[in-house]
Subunit: 353 residues, 2 copies
């Protein structure tokens, strides 16, 4: 992603902290696109990043700024992927990392962060209620103010310069397609990914590098619909909720970047799509079984939104559509196990072949 250095808020190239992030594949749909009547459906495989999710773009930017500003302690919150991403860069560049995570965070993500050497602390109510979530953020802000630590939360409202790394997803997509797509579907947790992707398109549009900005479509589970709930009621204010969704990575009860994400939908002429957790799991299965794309549930949420948008007639068959696949299937084994429930794996002798 560092070929886009000029679009990123780092002063000196010598401070770039890279671990091979970015330059992920954009693959054309083989089976799902045709089944939806779409000629040009693409999936952006963000799990090819070094720690397995798009959060490495945030973490690489964060680590670079740590180096540039001579800092060496990180304080962070995460539902899992931000934590493992920051932990990878902390290990590589010699930072300490204290990581506060959801009680229910996916085990594979936490184990990964610990393997890199982060201190992982689980917090009750974090991610579930607005007050719990905001309290965690406020307390960590206070600790960061009274210590040498840098507070890192993958939300534009808290870590804007670090989050800028995420917009490189859009630059890559434009280069891979030879221009901006017509529609981009992305999942909403805190809303930062979605907003930053839009910023990327807008930036290149303003610089004359692309001739249009895509319609941005927000996909969110019903159980945590901070953006899409209000949109469905024709309201323009994002709203905190009590999270009942189980989709790892999208359990963000507070507003954070939800307002700028909601504004993105309206500004870009996109839509909001809301679905059950089961619909997300069903799309996870489709991506794995029909496209060979091993994704975690959150990474299939954009596709679940696309299915609804197609039914609503919002996407024309000839238009270019990109779904962001944010993290890999290895990140959430619980959903893979559930998918395989009852599957047998026989054990035989050689002579039984």
């Amino acid at each position: 992603m560092w070929k886009y250095f000029d679009n990123l808020p780092l002063k000196d190239r010598s401070n770039i902290a890279s671990l091979g992030e970015g330059d992920t594949a954009l693959v054309r749909s083989r089976q799902i696109g045709p089944s939806l009547g779409l000629d040009q459906l693409y999936f952006k495989l963000e799990f090819q990043n070094p720690s397995g999710s798009y959060k490495d773009r945030f973490a690489s930017m964060a680590a670079s700024l740590m180096i540039e500003e001579n800092r060496d302690r990180m304080l962070a919150t995460s539902s899992g992927n931000t934590g493992s991403a920051l932990a990878a860069y902390a290990a590589r560049f010699g930072f300490e990392l204290d990581l506060y995570v959801l009680e229910t965070a996916a085990r594979a993500k936490l184990v990964q962060a610990e393997a890199y050497g982060a201190r992982v602390i689980r917090v009750r109510e974090f991610g579930v209620t607005e007050s719990g979530t905001n309290s965690v953020v406020e307390r960590l802000r206070a600790r960061a103010r009274t210590s040498e630590a840098v507070l890192l939360i993958s939300a534009t409202c808290i870590s804007p310069r670090q989050m800028a790394g995420v917009k490189t997803i859009s630059f890559e997509i434009c280069e891979q397609l030879g221009g901006a797509p017509d529609h981009v579907f992305g999942p909403i947790g805190g809303g930062g990914l979605f907003y930053q992707c839009y910023q990327g398109y807008r930036e290149w549009f303003q610089q004359g590098r692309i001739d249009r900005v895509p319609r941005m479509h927000a996909s969110q589970p019903q159980g945590c619909a901070t953006v899409v709930g209000p949109l469905s009621r024709n309201e323009t204010r994002a709203q905190a909720v009590t999270c009942t969704s189980r989709i790892s990575g999208l359990q963000v009860a507070a507003v954070l970047d939800a307002q700028v994400a909601l504004d993105t939908v309206l500004d870009s002429g996109g839509s909001g799509q809301m679905m059950s957790d089961e619909a997300v799991y069903s799309c996870q299965r489709r991506l794995i079984r029909e496209e060979g794309i091993y994704t975690e549930p959150a990474g299939a949420t954009a596709l679940a939104g696309l299915e609804l948008a197609v039914r609503q007639g919002l996407v024309k068959s000839s238009e270019q559509v990109v779904c962001l696949v944010t993290g890999g299937g290895f990140k959430h084994l619980e959903s893979i196990d559930a998918m395989l429930e009852g599957a047998s794996m026989p054990l035989i002798n050689v002579d039984e072949i």
Copy 2:
């Protein structure tokens, strides 16, 4: 990897079966290189491939040939990564896959293959003894002859055209470094990866695209030393063994490509390095903790070999060295769990922050 179409044994570009494989990062060591006195140590992150290991290069080539030759059934053996790679492409391109695997194969790899839709059958003694391993191969060869299925084994001696996909690793490394490195360290299971990488360098050398061929150093656990055991005794014949190593992916008791791998060491002026499983786990930990590189044990085996070669004075501090990191940490959670044994992950209330 398909930008190297002209170097691959496929007739028609329209038959390319791609899922975003290849173009993996080559990252420079931050901490391990300096600690070994090496200025230019690089890691090739093959876990960035779509199913999480270098085997996707084999699988993409295999799937492309299936399409070109109008076949639709795959029969394969695997210790895990070949299986999940083939299963991904089988899902995407609509092939059936029967997969025969080691009884002790890593759970994450088998679950992944099943999630994509492969039929997974575990076979006793396969991988452990020479006779068990050879019997499995012979029986599957016979089944392939009497059916429409294509037998796919990631060994040059059985699937030479498919294995050619693997040599693209070397083309990429040469482009990333602006020439061939001085030394390449790779793990040996069956030996096919190691041999194909050498073929890649030789091919470009013969075409005048690089001005030398690297020294190829083979790393292998003591418990399955089909190549390095003989080398250590100054013998030139690869030897079948009874496998006692637990390193997933390197448990190949039979010779398969071990002879051409041994010849590669001798031809290239490389060396053979043999170590305990514990030394491999220790290097896995170093890669994760010191470089932020989340690897499975097999992916750390090359580094374990490099450590020994440095001690033997085989590598000069100014030389360019590449270690192949063949698969990701997600592929083998057992080793990650062992690494973290005793680590706590406290659960606190918000007001305890």
